[in-house]
């Protein structure tokens, strides 16, 4: 016993020393000469925040440009809608990154000058870079659903960028009378967070079942199948009976038009007057990429999938939802994994080395209820054509016949995953 205790205290001493070493590291950090270069990261989400931190770990000078002082995560934003968490629980600041030596600039990039390697900021200044990382996320294709524009989103929120929109949708759910109908319009592929609309339906149903049990969730889908479909549908039947109705494309689920004034959602063939409408529109890469034509006329940015460097403009790397990253889904976990690979590649390139051969993991946990979790996981490597491809036999989905204890454990893993990835990004 005495031995254990003494070894425990020596471990604490080691930790204390490590802490001192880190502090000393900050003291000498302005020794810029040791850095192989300066990287500007645009966007402080899953891709950008992770890339900034891991580039600092590799000794690279990093400036992170982010419009907002805090970042509310899309992952777990459905728990806010379900009344399980407050928005504060999914909102993170950048002090941790600053403590790692990341220069955090609260501003908005208005233009990219690839020729002289600089970005211009709304504040009027320009920042030059050796390499640029864009992790700007998505924008919406307004108008693809007739009548759905930015003004309509204040009445029929998308809540597909977390924050104020999440809180708006939450307030609408709270204000709705029992017996109301909540419509969720789910977009066609590809889009941010493939299981997201269905987790959202689940956790809204959780809230309604608890507080407004005569209400209904109506999913109007532009697709005929969705991520983890069998697991979701089994979970819905088990937890919520027939509270959630899913209308696939082939049953006329595609939303063609909305009228916010009358709270009417028109599919190709039917008309639904609803109490709350969550319209998740079709998506594309954030329009910032258009300032350097990085999407090459398409919706998403083509990249070298080893380094995440644009195939259109050298020196600019694109991460996360905005990029075409082979078989990887557009998820926060994907962006986090890509950011580490990109940071390692850039550190190598700046030092004149070969980028290391990457391996990626993505896991999407979804909560069907607070104590009912399901997941899909995959491992990816580059194939012979240089595209990110799934490794056969690796990963998988939760078993269909698992018991309640198993589902509860997966819900715990989901919470553990969230704590761990946000600490990885912002801690």
């Amino acid at each position: 016993m005495a031995r254990t205790s003494s070894s425990g205290s020596s471990r604490r001493d080691v930790l204390k020393l490590a802490g001192l070493a880190t502090a000393a590291g900050f003291g000498v950090r302005p020794a810029f000469s040791q850095s192989p270069g300066h990287v500007v990261v645009v966007g402080g989400g899953f891709g950008g925040a992770t890339a900034a931190k891991y580039l600092r770990r590799a000794g690279v000078d990093v400036t992170l440009i982010e419009t907002n002082a805090t970042f509310a995560t899309c992952p777990f934003s459905n728990t806010v809608l379900g009344g399980i968490n407050e928005i504060d629980a999914i909102t993170h600041g950048y002090d941790g990154l600053a403590a790692h030596g990341v220069q955090v600039v609260p501003d908005t990039v208005t233009g990219i000058n690839a020729a002289n390697k600089s970005v211009s900021l709304q504040g009027g200044t320009a920042v030059s870079y050796d390499r640029l990382i864009l992790s700007p996320g998505i924008d919406f294709k307004w108008g693809e659903i007739e009548g759905y524009d930015e003004a309509a989103a204040e009445v029929m929120p998308h809540a597909w960028k977390a924050g104020a929109q999440t809180e708006l949708l939450r307030r609408q759910l709270i204000a709705m009378d029992d017996g109301g109908v909540v419509a969720i319009a789910a977009p066609g592929n590809p889009f941010r967070c493939p299981p997201g609309p269905y987790e959202r339906a689940s956790l809204i149903a959780h809230y309604l079942k608890t507080h407004k049990p005569a209400s209904k969730v109506l999913i109007l889908d532009s697709k005929d199948s969705f991520s983890k479909q069998g697991l979701f549908q089994a979970g819905w039947a088990e937890l919520y009976g027939d509270m959630i109705e899913w209308v696939p494309f082939s049953s006329g689920g595609n939303v063609a038009r909305v009228d916010p004034a009358t709270m009417t959602v028109y599919t190709d063939f039917d008309t639904h007057v609803v109490n709350v409408a969550n319209i998740i529109p079709a998506q594309r890469s954030n329009r910032l990429v258009d300032t350097a034509d990085l999407a090459n006329g398409g919706d998403w940015c083509p990249i070298n999938q080893l380094t995440f460097e644009s195939t259109v403009q050298p020196g600019i790397h694109i991460l996360g939802d905005a990029s075409i990253a082979g078989a990887m889904p557009k998820s926060g976990f994907s962006a986090n994994a890509q950011a580490k690979v990109c940071a390692a590649a850039i550190a190598a390139l700046l030092r004149g080395d070969e980028p290391p051969s990457p391996s990626f993991i993505n896991t999407c946990y979804s909560l069907v209820g607070p104590d009912y979790g399901i997941s899909v996981a995959a491992v990816y490597r580059l194939n012979a054509e240089g595209a990110i491809a799934g490794v056969e036999g690796a990963g998988g989905v939760s078993p269909g016949d698992a018991n309640a204890e198993f589902r509860k454990m997966e819900a715990e893993y989901a919470r553990g995953w969230y704590a761990s990835i946000t600490s990885d990004m912002f801690g």
């Binding site: 005929d224 494309f249 082939s250 049953s251 006329g252 190709d268 063939f269």
Partner: protein
């Protein structure tokens, strides 16, 4: 959608000469006859092989479908609103069934 298999969308009203969009959807497996069940037996061909649309008894749209057409065939096309009347839709199933839909349009 009397039979639950088909549904259509036609504007209720239109101006004379206006270009209108017509949509039609059939919920159908469109089995192409080349697929096998787990036990090795072949799933026989079963498709909708023809689709027709009349506007006041005049054929305005027709399509012959073959085995490459996906399940749940969805058709959207444009025509000119010429006069008030009825638009009739017919889907011809391999099994001999004909599914029909009908929609009224008022042209002002």
């Amino acid at each position: 959608m009397a039979d639950g298999i088909t549904r259509v969308a036609v504007p209720e009203t239109a101006a004379k000469g206006e270009i209108i969009e017509i949509k039609a959807l059939a919920s159908h497996p469109m089995d192409n006859g080349f697929m096998f069940r787990d036990n090795g037996t072949r799933i026989p061909r079963w498709i909708i092989h023809r689709f027709e649309v009349d506007y006041n008894d005049e054929l305005i749209f027709a399509a012959d479908w073959h085995v490459a057409i996906s399940a749940n065939p969805y058709i959207s096309f444009h025509t000119i609103a010429t006069e008030s009347g009825t638009i009739n839709f017919r889907w011809f199933d391999d099994n001999g069934d004909i599914y029909t839909e009908s929609a009224k349009i008022t042209v002002v």
